[in-house]
Symmetry: C2
Subunit: 690 residues, 2 copies
Amino acid sequence: MSETNVQYTGDGYQAWLGYHRIAPGNVYEQYAALKAITVNENAEVIRTAVTELSRGLQSMLGYEPVVEESGESAGSIVLGTFGNNAIVDRTFAEDTRSAIGPEGFAIKAVKENRSIVIGASTAPGVLYGAFHLLRLMSTGEAVDNLDVVQNPVNQLRMINQWDNIDGSIERGYAGKSIFYKDNRITTDLERVRDYARLLASSGINAISINNVNVHKYETRFLTEAYLPDVAKVAAVFRAYGVKMFLSINYASPLEIGDLTTADPLDPGVREWWRAKAAEVYAAIPDFGGFLVKADSENRPGPFTYDRDHADGSNMLAEAVKPYGGIVIWRCFVYNCKQDWRDRATDRARAAYDHFKPLDGRFMDNVILQVKNGPMDFQVREGVSPLIGAMEQTNQMIEFQITQEYTGQQRHLCYLVPQWKEVLDFETYAKGEGSPIKRIVDGSLYGNRFSGFAAVSNIGDDANWTGHLLAQANLYGYGRLAWNPELTAEAIAEEWIRMTFGGDEQLVRTIRGMLMDSWSIYEDYTSPLGVGWMVNPDHHYGPNVDGYEYSKWGTYHFADCHGIGVDRTMATGTGYTGQYKGPNVEMYESLASCPDELLLFFHHVPYTHVLHSGKTVIQHIYDTHFVGVERAEQLQAKWSELQGSMHEGLHQQVAARLAEQAAHAKEWRDMINTYFFRKSGIADQLGRKIY
Amino acid sequence: MSETNVQYTGDGYQAWLGYHRIAPGNVYEQYAALKAITVNENAEVIRTAVTELSRGLQSMLGYEPVVEESGESAGSIVLGTFGNNAIVDRTFAEDTRSAIGPEGFAIKAVKENRSIVIGASTAPGVLYGAFHLLRLMSTGEAVDNLDVVQNPVNQLRMINQWDNIDGSIERGYAGKSIFYKDNRITTDLERVRDYARLLASSGINAISINNVNVHKYETRFLTEAYLPDVAKVAAVFRAYGVKMFLSINYASPLEIGDLTTADPLDPGVREWWRAKAAEVYAAIPDFGGFLVKADSENRPGPFTYDRDHADGSNMLAEAVKPYGGIVIWRCFVYNCKQDWRDRATDRARAAYDHFKPLDGRFMDNVILQVKNGPMDFQVREGVSPLIGAMEQTNQMIEFQITQEYTGQQRHLCYLVPQWKEVLDFETYAKGEGSPIKRIVDGSLYGNRFSGFAAVSNIGDDANWTGHLLAQANLYGYGRLAWNPELTAEAIAEEWIRMTFGGDEQLVRTIRGMLMDSWSIYEDYTSPLGVGWMVNPDHHYGPNVDGYEYSKWGTYHFADCHGIGVDRTMATGTGYTGQYKGPNVEMYESLASCPDELLLFFHHVPYTHVLHSGKTVIQHIYDTHFVGVERAEQLQAKWSELQGSMHEGLHQQVAARLAEQAAHAKEWRDMINTYFFRKSGIADQLGRKIY
């Protein structure tokens, strides 16, 4: 962290790496035994680990540990990679060592001399081990009996920045870009370094640094005009074990080359990309590869040349393959010029319909990146049936940490429970035991590449994420990508303790707020999985018909009788048929379709009775009244925490929660009024509807 | 017209002043007798008249008339002001001369020597006479028996430009500003001169050159940084008898002065404005005065200081009074942060409620500028009850030539019939015989100042108005301001003949299209006077709920039972009580309220039967289906005119009409679907509703 940032204390800049001073007591005594760091390797990422450990210990314990190259002094943290450090090698038996993958680590407390040894196969593994130890200490865990072996479950744990060179961030709600300013890559990379540190601490190992919508100047990142600066950014991330990717413009051969086509089967185009890849890898030898949004929402792509996504992605994959690079190809492809009168076309079907037929045609260094749901990061939607549907194709899942449709970091919405639901969803792709998490970790089909991607939620706001509590989503995403078996509660608790310290009432209160928040947001926004109902373009605030007559394929079809999208095979768009096994019937049948997705799959009368026993219309009224009360309770709970944290942190969250409570009323009144006017059915409890 | 513009022929740049060559025949013989122009005065505006006559004759007849200072040669057009030209004085008897007001003129054909004499009290009168003669000739009228006396009915015939210094135009649909570029006033004033010529030819005598929303740089027009350039623009208009005004920022003393208040009762503020007025009049001695939008849509105003509109406007009026200047104060004042849940507040009431109590408190060089309707230039709304409600206050009416809510010059909508309806509206302000036109011409109350203002529809598009046929609105506005008794048909016909020549089928066809167009546009857009139902902000295209839950006070309150705004005294907002005499009961009573304003005044069930015999819902369906058919007929009629005009002119209109026909379907389907879904009532004719 830069000097200038050290002064920030009540602003949240330190996020979960503030390493709060530990009060004297049992754990303090344990930790205080650690007086030294022993390390004999000089790899950059290992130096990063040493710096971080020094910093953490000094901050938590109040003294600076000695860093020594060798020696077996008591009370040391020993760091090293297998085969390069005698203590490390001695500490971990061969079976432990062989169980450690490229990014895994082992940690063992050595009672005899009150030391702790961190061993790994690679330098990044050592860094993850160091962060793990620091996490334990900063959450107050005992370390005197440590015997830990961890490997990340997912190979790619990636962040997508949707930052533009002009400093704006598409769907950014926390200020301007930390990467770009005035159409240049920033020269002051201190904040980028601090970001890399946050990412690495949560387990992230890859980042694409520019928006998937690649505009004029960003297209030139692949040219000499920008490449040297791009390489400098890559160097910052490299020190934290984070591999850098670039989003590229499919039409680059036209826009920055002097070609007249971008046809993926054209030999000149293929050669152009090969040469371009060579150039990029010359500047950044460990460059990750390309992220591509093609033939999507008016972006160029292979369709222009009557080629398909396999042709397009393979061409790029071929170019980066000699360097171990990969191509991540987004599946967010749909007709964005739909006619709202056309009820046969269903945007939810689009990704599956486009990509499923191409299974088997992608090179092994292509990964398809599939959004978690078939629509677009709504507060509630079905799980994408494309995930798991392509046995011979690498896939990764895409989440959205930035809260585009979930309150834009003005409302509290802890997203880890939503992501967990998706990851635990049973696809039946290979029969029972085929949850999403086993597909995206590559284990179900034995994929060469796989993992998680997510759109970042940070900007240059002092606290990174606008809403301080939205930091939990960034942290939680990294942790979940590392290990999808972690519970949302456990992740929340880690984050709270690291961010605010260990006051038990505070931990309990904030954990409860986080865990409730998704359901609260869902309560007062669009009901029963129908989605949308937001203002067009910026997507903030209620507008029930905002997308109803648009070209975007996002409709609810509410009339005076009922509401919902019939996606059944029997009478609707047939989308349910894209699922497998029992899921088909579960969604197809009104009797078994879960309430929370009812309107995503079925068009029903307002008087339809849910499994909950309520009618649809009464459910709408009830959840919207209750949602506002619950939003007000969030505010009340937070106010009880005044005095138990830095006043600056408390105030910034209090302000957002007040805004949320007020804005929740807008949602409540607009949604209730809309449906009361439309249905003519009164609230059973006679509450105020306008 | 500049050299460069002469080449434009099929682009519409010449508008109605193309002076088409007249074919040999009866009128040609008559006109061709005119070989000379006799003039002995050298005033700038008279020189303008001579230039225009020369140009017109040359263009229509193919030869250049001789311009001579005196002489009584046969076949001369003699121009002059009374008392300065012997021929003029001899031609017009004393009673004729005394009937000619400051801008009036007399024209007389002198059979003996086949001359035509134009006489006036002032130079601008001479110019109007010249344009009148040219109009007669370019519409093919006989001139051998001329004996005309005309005075403009309205004193102020003003155009408001909503142009911004950055070159944008608020609510502009015909390109960028012709006045500004790159945050400066343009130095090439040729196009402004051509615009002045168009305006003068239609009778306009005043213009405000900047947007009523006065932003940072426009505020500085009153300073040395811009004033010299402003004066150059004034000089251009001066040559055409058009007086220049500026829109000013009420907060100027704060923003460009070094005062800490803009309180209108503060002596320092008053002194600041007096000094500022002196400065402006030093640069532009015949400066018209200030146009002010204050305490309206977030613009600053006297409310900040607990003062009222009379305080605010009088302060400015006092400052310009020594120079004969006037202050035009807009009455578009309403609560633009309304809560949609609040059904008691009615934006339609706002102007009356704000200004009526101030009657008698305004200085005699203040004019209140009142929009024609109480809302905002909708395709159909009631007439503003404020007009005529203030017996002791100068008023002018504000129309909107630019088609903000009437198709944005992508749809054809000839607005003169709408304006005529407003002008002919009987207010009963002083009992029967108190139409709007008698209030705004000052005759009803004997006002010192009064007249017309309207927001311009021109930009730097080659044809000025985007849609070529929208030129008729600019032309028609000027003509109507000159004489509100002219019929919409007659104005249309003049414009058509001057623009396209005199082919009779062409004249009949285009006149029919123009005359039908308002009703067609009304058919397929928002029904029965309810207004709005457009996309927010840009106001183009259908969006039934676009403003329904907004802060703008613009609601339709449609539910599953019915629609409309109850503005009655009995059960509604009481707006009907702002009218006078029989109008109150006419609007208050469902039985007598005109169909076309039904939903503006009443909330009724969809099954309510109109005077037309149709239910409201069936009326909605019918007009929307028919509206599309009629829009398609416009297209068909226009296509019949191919070959009867310059192909360039034909093509540009054909393209717009095609777009209109397609977009009308969007309107039809969205409106019909909305109401079908909401009411559940089927179309009696079983037509396709989605």
